[in-house]
Structures are given as C-alpha cells and as structure tokens.
Amino acid sequence: MPEQPEVSIRNLSKSFDGIEVLRDVDLEVKSGEVVSILGSSGSGKSTLLRCINWLETPDRGEIRINGERIGLQDKTQKPMSRRELAKVRTQLGMVFQSFNLWPHLNVLRNVTEALIYVQGLKKSDAVERAMAFLHKVGMAEKAASYPATLSGGQKQRVAIARALAMQPKVMLFDEPTSALDPELVGEVLSVMKDLSSEGYTMIIVTHEMDFARNVSDQVVFLEKGIIIEKSAPEIFFHSPRSERVRRFLELDKVV
C-alpha cells in the first residue's frame, strides 16, 4: 500500500468577490517533506496556505490531513461544526508573517494557553512542555517577558514554539521572515532549518530563495492561482520547465 500523504489537496479553488484566486490546485505533501511555495505578490500563496487550515473557506476541492477531511463532513459534504473544525486544526501548526502573539499573555502563557484550554493539559504539564519548546527555539530565558518587549525575530520564534507545542502533524509558515529586519531573518530561518532536519512536515510560503533551495524537497510556483511548476529544488532553480519561473528567478538575482 502506498504511503498516505500527510497533506493532500485536490481541485482546490477559491474566489474573492468573483475573482478566482486559486484554481484547481493539487498538491500532495508526504510525511517529513518540506514544500516551499513561491510566486509573485497576489498570486494566491497565502490564500492556499490559509485554505489548508480552513482560515479561508475554499469554494471547491478537498483537503485531507493524514486522510482526515478538514472543513466539510466526508459523508454529507456539510460544513463541520466549529468544534470538529477546531479539533482537526490541532493537527496543523501555523506561523504568520506578523507573528500574531497575544499581547496580554507573557511568552510562557502564549505557549501554554492552547495546551491548557484546547488540549486539556494540567498546568504543570503544560508549563513543562512549553518550556521544552521555548528552549528549542532559544527563548526559554524570555518566558516571563511580554510580547511587546521582544524583537521581531524573538516574537517569531515564540510563535513557532506556540505552534510546535501543540505537536501538530504539519507546520504551515506564511512568509515567517518577511516582517523582520534583515539582521533578524537568520535566527528564524535557522530554527526552521533545524525543524526540517528533525523530520517535521512543513509547507512554507517564502521569498527566501536560498532557504527554499537548500531546505525544500519540493518547490511549488504559483501564478495567478495556478501551480505552474512543481519540482525538486535542483530542477526548479537550475532548469525550470516554465519560462515564467525562469524570469522570476532572474529577477530575483538582479535584486
């Protein structure tokens, strides 16, 4: 029996105000794979990622996490209850461009909040697990600090720890370094690189070409909501099939 993909996206389409932003997108991500999604601004990268955990509701298509349907009931095709949806979402961790930490909670509680109130862990267990993940991203010393006092790179590492602590099957990253000062990009990428070598399954929207080249197993290029190239990084960066990708890469070199 072939291995079941960790994430499978089939025929995904989504429009905003009658404008098609994603069109018949198919993508399979195997366990332990790192997939980078590239494309110019407005090509639908964020929308694709946000459909995977149903922050956007697709118009058509189906998404499965480990075979389990998200968003719609498998049998009836009716929308899941919010409770069922929340449950499936715990299998997906998400890291946002603008960190989205909760400002009224300190670093530790940003991580423990969902452990306690979603997973139902005892407080002491939640703290123990949170500290382990904060340690992993190098933020254990800042456990008592509030988000407002952290740098962008530190905030993003806390956000990564918050997502990891839920022990999801798949991590989704939406331009995790785009809001950072250049000198802070490295610390976040290095955490993400560690995760990939530990075998985390990751889907990453990024503009960091070197990172995509060195860390990905698959590179996907979106253009106007259509996947026009999907290949291994060696092929993608050296001999892409599509003329559009070639131009995109040249443009990147010039800049």
Binding site: N53, L55, R89, N100, H104, T149, A159
Partner: protein
C-alpha cells in the same frame, strides 16, 4: 450643620451609592450580553436590540424612571421605588455600555483571532481567554466614563420620591435655612464617589500597562 444633618446627608449618599452601584454592575454585565447578542447578528433580535439602544439613549432619565414606576401598577406589577430606580438606570446605562463593548469587539484584531483558531481554540475559548481580557482593558476608560455619567445623572431618581444625595440637601436646608453647606458637602461626596471609580480604573490600567496595543 449639626450631627443630625450629617446623618441625613450620609443616608442620602448611601442611597445614591447603592442604587448606582447595583445599576452599574448590572449595566456593565447586561451591556456585554447585549453586545454579544448583536455580534451574533440574529435576525429580528438584532433589530429589536438596535431599536432598544436607540430608544434608551434618546429617552431622558427622568422620563424613563417615571414611566417605569407608573406603568408598573398598570401592568399589575407592584414595584417599590428602589427597584424602579435600578431598572431605569440599568436600562439606560446598558444601552450605552452595549455600544462601548460592541465597538471594542468590532475593533479587535483579526490576527489574534486567526492565531487562536489556528491552534484549535473554539470561538468560546477564544472569546474567554483572548478577546475578553483585552477588550475589558480597552473598554475600561469608556465604561468608567459611563459609570460617572450614571452617578451624576442619578438625582433623577428623586422624581419618584427617593431621597438621594441631592434630594436630601433640600430636606436639610428646609430645616436649617442655610442651603449652601449641605450642597457643598453633597458635591464633595459626589466627587468622592467618582474619584473612587477613576482610582479603580487607574489601578486596572496600571496592571494592563505592559499590554502593547
């Protein structure tokens, strides 16, 4: 003013304080409930609550109090004066508080909500753990402002015969023929009550200061 006059004055102050206090507590809580019901945008109920808010905000307190007190017996309900006063003050302040809560909820960051959904929080857990604690803090100045309006508007309850802090000054000066001292004392007591509210607000704000909004 003799000891007797001071005793009357403090009784009046107590009447104002407890009737206002109960109305404030009810009004903050019911305002929250109304705001949440309106956020749910339930057809018909939403229009009904919208109409209530417009009406309650446009009706003078004195009118509202008289209406409630006088319409009670007509409907076969025997309201005592304090209950009628609390009902009127609460109906009035709830409408203002509902709008304060509602605008705080509407302006709340969508990003924080998405982060909560992404870790699998249900809407209720998100509301209770993420949104509510922060909107309490951001709404507090406006809520306290509305509380002090209520205290300052509370002399309206004298219209149904309650002897509150303002009304009692009349009673005192009717005996002493010297209206100024009781009025000055009443003014100081009003200031103390509102000062207490503002002081409470400051403490809450200081606790929340590390919040970067």
């Amino acid at each position: 003013m003799d000891g007797n006059a001071w005793g009357l004055l403090l009784q009046g102050a107590w009447t104002t304080a407890w009737i206002s206090g109960v109305s404030i507590l009810l009004g903050v809580f019911l305002g929250l409930v109304v705001a949440l019901l309106r956020l749910a945008k339930i057809p018909f109920l939403d229009q009904l609550l919208g109409a209530y808010i417009s009406l309650a905000r446009a009706t003078p307190l004195v009118t509202l109090i008289l209406f409630i007190f006088l319409s009670g017996p007509t409907l076969g309900i025997n309201l005592n004066r304090s209950t009628a006063a609390i009902m009127a003050l609460t109906l009035n302040t709830t409408a203002f508080n509902a709008e304060i809560w509602r605008s705080a909820f509407n302006n709340f960051s969508k990003e924080q909500r998405e982060a909560a959904m992404a870790v699998g929080m249900t809407p209720w857990v998100y509301f209770r753990r993420i949104m509510l604690p922060q909107t309490v803090i951001t709404s507090l100045p406006n809520l306290v402002n509305e509380m002090s309006f209520l205290v300052k508007g509370s002399p309206a309850i004298a219209v149904i015969g309650i002897v509150d802090l303002t009304r009692v000054t009349n009673r005192i000066s009717a005996v002493t023929y010297d209206p100024l001292p009781p009025i000055l004392a009443a003014g100081a007591l009003y200031m103390a009550m509102i000062g207490l509210l503002v002081w409470g607000q400051r403490i809450a704000e200081r606790k929340a200061n590390r919040l970067a909004m």
